[in-house]
Amino acid sequence: MTTAIIDTSTANIASVRFALERMDAPYVLAATPEEAAGCARLILPGVGAAGPAMARLNASGWSAALREERRPVLGVCLGMQLLFEHSDESDVALLGLIPGRVERLDPGADGPWPHMGWNALDELAEDEPLLAGIAPGDRVYFVHGFYVAPGEHARAQTRYGSPVTAIARKDNIAGCQFHPERSAKIGARILSNFIKG
């Protein structure tokens, strides 16, 4: 069952591809929705700023296609943020697939901005398929300066200044704020839960 990696032309595409190769999962890079026609699921990767990424998704037809999407979707890092409604980073409208806003993270006394490094997962939703085999306290690699405050669609959280949505889901649409492709064994398990789920 092939996975489509939505080609957002951002820098973490290679590490997502290599992560799928390490688990022998077939994939295609899909610049347009047509190129993902035969695929069973979609990964929306992304790093960098929300504004340029949304402009590319709008231009490629992916924005419209994702709003109708019924297959499992996994957004990664910026790709997760794009699933929500609005980003304060460059004040841009997002895909609107999950209710919520992306705001600037205030780390307070917890450390410098941006949030960069290995932080612990907590408040795990028991019925979340991405979290099979994952325990509270397991660490994954985060790199981000904007965040979504946990709401009803948060399936896992971490804490950096305030609670941060680590995994979000609404129906078939899910996202990880952290980088599972760069989160060692824990990240590989989460990606594998998505690929095999």
């Binding site: 590490s15 390490r22 941006p114 760069r182 989160s183």
Partner: protein, 255 residues
Amino acid sequence: MLARRIIPCLDVRDGRVVKGVRFRDHVDMGDIVELATRYAREGADELVFYDITASPQERAVEPEWVSRVARAIDIPFAVAGGIRSVDDARARLFAGADKISVNTPALRDPDLIDRLAREFGSQCVVSGIDSRVIEGEWRIHQNTGDPDKTEISHRRTLDWIGEVTERGAGEVVLNCMDQDGVREGYDVDQLAAARAICPVPLIASGGAGAIEHFEAVFRIANVDGALAASVFHKQIIEIGALKAALKDQGVEVRL
């Protein structure tokens, strides 16, 4: 809580990992992918690859080995050495590097940091800084890697940290050269001074020789990560044992 990061640094020359003392007398330490894989398995939180010959010879790192490393490991890594344009950076990031680190080229062309941050986001852009005491002050040492081509600029280190973070660097690696390779401990005074003015993650580099050096730099200088090379390459310190010891001393680590 965010874990403090342990970061093995691999100096790369001609596709091999090497290590020298005070930037001279490089010794072959092994194959890049082999060492990278070993460190990832042992619990390294991140890796940094410095192409130590790149800047002086006006040559940028080849994406070929970047891609080999990115395929093999499942932890983040940064690539440094001779990146002097957005295109140089793009080639390395799209080959699978998570961050690019700029040092000498940013001293000549500080706006490079702005351009890189604008294009890829601050989270990708690391400012590598070589600092040493010159005329009684911490100042920037320029153009490392080849003793014959070493030159000195007189920027103050703390001023430069302020400038690069203002320009959009998302992380600073401060290499305290007076300590580099001699394994007598990190320069906690300089790193604490840097910490006080550095708004982004700060990584200590230079001087690690024993487990207590890591504990001291986290506790006293409050850095986000500690980078080291020879103690890991020569297996003087094993990463798993280091992290277990740090945890016992109350330092937050990923086990």
